[in-house]
């Protein structure tokens, strides 16, 4: 665990993710003010809102992909708005798993190498058995050595999920993971995400405008 982590103390079992008076503005007039969030460890939350409501902005702020301008974001007791650039990079690698609408797999690499990028970039041990384990868990164990272009859309999405959970992150952030999928696949992906998060005891936050997910996740934050 990083030094920053220890300094701030793992005091708060009270909130895995806690935001206070968070706001972001892209231009002078368009300021988005976010309501304060408190999400407990292992909870599953839905951020629901129309396009342009700031869902992606909030997910990126929570994930440290975007620097906040005002307010604090506390993740596992660490205020990530106070972290230096490189400390934030490390923190991201070790605590987060991201899933985006498009899978963003690196097409030059095989499935296995795509997955191994996660521990490599996070500075963790690269374990091929863990890769096989996660792929099997997602039902695509046979694709371990396949090239990315050989995958179907659904398989690619599952590889992206596998990559996000490989490092056993404490927080899984998903941005519109289902909006490009039909009903059947939407069901499968959301079920998969929820069960995987549960198995890994990870906090899951899904940002979406997809109303189909409303029935599945009860904790709702409307933007």
């Amino acid at each position: 665990m990083s030094g920053i982590f220890r300094r701030s103390g793992i005091s708060s079992k009270t909130g895995m993710i806690k935001t206070r008076s968070l706001s972001y503005s892209y231009c002078a007039e368009g300021k988005i003010q976010f309501t304060d969030l408190t999400i407990q460890t292992g909870e599953q939350f839905l951020l629901l809102g129309e396009s342009g409501s700031g869902k992606t902005t909030l997910v990126h702020l929570l994930g440290g992909l975007l620097r906040s301008q005002q307010g604090t974001i506390e993740v596992h007791g660490t205020d990530i708005t106070k972290l230096s650039e490189s400390a934030l990079d490390r923190f991201r690698g070790q605590h987060y798993g991201f899933i985006f609408q498009r899978n963003h797999l690196i097409s030059a690499l095989s499935v296995e190498k795509n997955l191994l990028m996660a521990p490599f970039l996070a500075g963790l041990k690269q374990d091929k058995e863990r890769v096989a384990e996660v792929l099997n868990q997602l039902g695509i164990g046979v694709k371990q050595h396949a090239a990315i272009r050989e995958l179907s859309l659904g398989q690619a999405q599952r590889v992206a999920i596998a990559r996000a959970i490989l490092n056993k992150p404490s927080v899984i952030l998903a941005d519109e993971p289902t909006s490009a999928l039909d009903d059947k696949n939407c069901d499968r992906v959301s079920d998969l995400l929820m069960s995987i998060a549960e198995q890994n005891k990870a906090t899951l936050v899904i940002a979406t405008h997809d109303q189909r997910l409303k029935n599945k996740i009860k904790n709702l934050i409307q933007l």
Partner: protein, 412 residues
Amino acid sequence: MNLLSLVVSYLKAKPLNTLLNIVLLALGIAVITILLLFSNQLKEKISDNTKGIDLVVGAKGSPLQLILCNIFHIDFPTGNIKLYEADRLAKHRLVKSAIPLALGDSYQNFRIIGTNRQYMELYKAELASGDWWNADMEVVVGDNAAKLLQLKEGDKFESSHGLTKEGSAHEAHPFLVKGILKKTSSVIDNLIFTNIFSIWSVHDEHDGEKHTADSMSNPSRLVPSVESSDSTKEITSLLIKYRNPIAALQLPRYINSQTSMQAASPSFEAARLFSILGVGVEAMTGFAYVIIFISALSIFIALYNSLKERQYDLAIMRSMGASKSKLFMTTLMEGTTLTFLGSIIGLALGHGVLYLFTALVEESQKTGISAMIFYVEEVYLLVGSIVLGIICSLIPAFQAYRTDIHKVLAGN
């Protein structure tokens, strides 16, 4: 996974682009390598071959021709000089030593040189087998000439007139091989040696009226078997070593103005020859640098373009914990991997082409140029091309460094 394997995967993902970039650079590096090997070795050969010879004296004509003919044995003689005139010069107080040369015959394109043993000492020639020539019509053969002509001790051959294959054969006067020389990597490897009298007797219709030394009143200093006053005898040239530095100032001027002969300095003419060749070498080198520049440009464009396609890769790598500087390094490594491979292949190609050239072209073997010599400049080429790789990937690397992950990942 590591950065290198990521970079290699990226390069493999676009095999044609990668091939083009590597081939372009390799071509430029190969041309430079060949020129480097060629001109360096040529310079070494020239200085090796002119060592111990301060001045070449021959018939009037082109001084460069005189040097090319009498030292490097590639051009034709400028004409003959009278032996008695050469003799007089050999006795000059500023001359330490003078070696006579008589050219004019050849065997299968290999020149037969009439001279004395001093010439062999000049090049530190040693016998590999057999013995030195003693009597007339006996020869000693240089290493490479013996190999290519398949001559060995005791063989006989008939020379032909002139320095090319087409000359008419001197059937009445066969030469006898007495010895074979060790390899010296100098010009004498490709020559056949005999005494001067043999060259004369091949050409004289009424064969040698040879005298024994004691029957002569005043034997020639250069060719002791004839009278120094014999006005019929001619030689091709005289290789002179100065007695002291003053000779360098006085002797050439004296010869050129006071005698019917011409003096040429090997070092001066070699330098002049090199400056003439230098124009060609420079033009080729310039051409090679243009190719290298184009390859650098091509690598830059390839990296720059691929950044657009890879912005999602870069952003997702950042989201997985990669620092900005890691992305910077990745792009830099991609450029340098290309130039490193290009220059390694280029160096190998340069040596390879020269090796094929020396193996296939018989004339090139006479020059003694080898493809298996390595110069420190090649290390500079290698280092230089890695620096080149850094330079042409610097801007793309900086772009990668500045990737705005939020914008890329948010803007579908």
